[in-house]
């Protein structure tokens, strides 16, 4: 199990479309993934659950991956979030 902290940078936070993008990416991975935001621990493979955490811009989150491919998966998730999930970082 490995984990890494990052900050949500895209402008509308993890709203519907960016959440859907992140969820699509997470679903394509073999690792068990958990996103920790404050006291909330959510499974990003579900858009609904991910959105229910209402993660806004500027929130620090921790991504935890566990599985055979965990290093690669974690790297790709962090990259996606840091690049603004297709939404830009303004």
């Amino acid at each position: 199990m490995i984990s890494q902290k990052t900050v949500v940078v895209n402008k509308s936070g993890l709203h519907l479309r960016p959440a859907a993008d992140l969820s699509k990416l997470a679903s394509s991975m073999s690792s068990e993934i958990t996103i920790v935001a404050g006291e909330k621990r959510v499974n990003p493979k579900s858009v609904l659950i991910l959105m229910s955490a209402a993660i806004t811009k500027g929130t620090e989150i921790e991504i935890i991956c566990e599985g055979e491919n965990e290093a690669e998966d974690l790297k790709r998730l962090v990259e996606a979030i840091e690049s603004g999930l297709g939404e830009g970082t303004e």
Partner: protein
Amino acid sequence: MERIKVLQTASKGYAKGPVYLVKRRELIIPRRTIAAEEAEEEIKRYKASVNTAKEQLEKISGDSEIFEAYIQLVQDEALMAGVISKIKGGNNAEAAVEDTADEFIQMFDSMEDAYMKERAADLKDIKKRLLYALAGITENPFQGLKVPSVIVAEELTPSDTADMDFENVLGFLTEIGGVTSHVSIIAKGRGIPCLTGVKGICGRVKDGMMAAMDAGEGEIFLEPTEAELFEFAQKKCRFEEQEQMMEVESKKPSETKDGHKFMLCANVGNIEDIKEALKSQMEGIGLFRSEFVYMMKKDDFPTEEEQFQIYKEAVLLTKERELTIRTLDIGGDKGLDYYTFEKEENPFLGCRAVRLCLKMPEMFKNQLRALLRASVYGNIRIMYPMLISVEELERANELLLECKRELEEKKIPYRADIEVGMMIETPASVLMADEFAKRVDFFSIGTNDLTQYLLAVDRGNEAIAGAYDSFHPAVLRAVRHVIRCAHAHGIKAGMCGEFASNEKASAILLGMGLDEFSMSAGSIKAVKYRLRNISFKEAEELAEKVLGASSAKEVKELI
């Protein structure tokens, strides 16, 4: 075996083929408890419904980000886990989907964040899609239209025809709607036979039943016999011969026997229509309804860039021919998915068309800038709808000027000599026509609305449908007044209402001096044939006589 007579023909022609019945059933959700051994089968049904919904969404998503996200939602892991556990707990798929979705809907609904609250609506849409799929009803009523068919529906709305695959449309039969209804206009434009006002037709046909329709005579044959089919084929043949003759004639120039020139243009509602119109002998686009640009968007008003791309595509098709684009004419009977109109007692006398645009100047300017930018590729003419006062015109022109300045600042080119004109469709604009004529480059008379406003007759109200008559002398005299004012100030007068293509009206209009006739592309050759076979002198005399008539009845006796 059954023969139905219809009085109104919306668009002439013959069609024969299987019926495609447009179903819009209310959804009843069959909830029940299931035995443990049924669970596997229900899970399978549920998974199939997820696939169906996903396929539908993929088909309509295009570039829409919302639908892209819906595709994720519909196959969401948590939703799926919830539904499957409920099925295993003894619920059928429908009940499990409904309850699980409702739990999430409630969760979002109870959230503080306004954005999150709205997501409840997305889930409701997802729930509906899944339930429709489980019931075997396709959400898009035209999803099942796979073979060329005669479309039978209670009513067809603009969004229906927007989603339709016209390759598979042989003809239209609708219960509701008159000759000026949306479906009639679409049908005429594409030369598709159409009969409207066919009461009770939906109850008399079944999907796949053979139907033959003669939209010229207003006859429908359901499951026709051999003899009826023979009769049908003969009539069809005669009709096609006549069409052929007109086709030949239509390639000749637009002028009367004595050499008076006129111009025939097409009314279009989207890019496809323009492509269709280009196959006819039209000399320009007299009316391009820009509403479709707004209707095809589901989440927000189209941006300047999105509009620019569409107008550019249009003008690259029409090239040096005139392309008259009417600015947004929404409100009244046409709505938008993403904008809720205030409830109005009298929407036709309400905040519509240019009135709405002037209230939302930034939205309006997006359209104006897009039009200006596209103007460099050809001959775009901007046309404002529904004006009643010089102030409105001046306000719209001020915004247009602001747009020009903004483009200049950004060094974006536009055509400085772009023509700006207006629709004449309100009684006020008729009476003020001389003032307007000093301030615009062209007039286009919209007879559908003008007749309705001038006579104070709702054209959709069947109880007074007989009173709606563009041959009313009030309408004819108004038209003549407008043409005279236009000519006195050296501008052109056109007409883009259905009246311009009316079999009996076009000669009168020519005689009054109308310069440009704009109509559904399908009508052009018939009008050309008629106008080429009279002299301008005859037309003038006829117009003079008709304008002296004191009633619509008298007018009709003269023609």
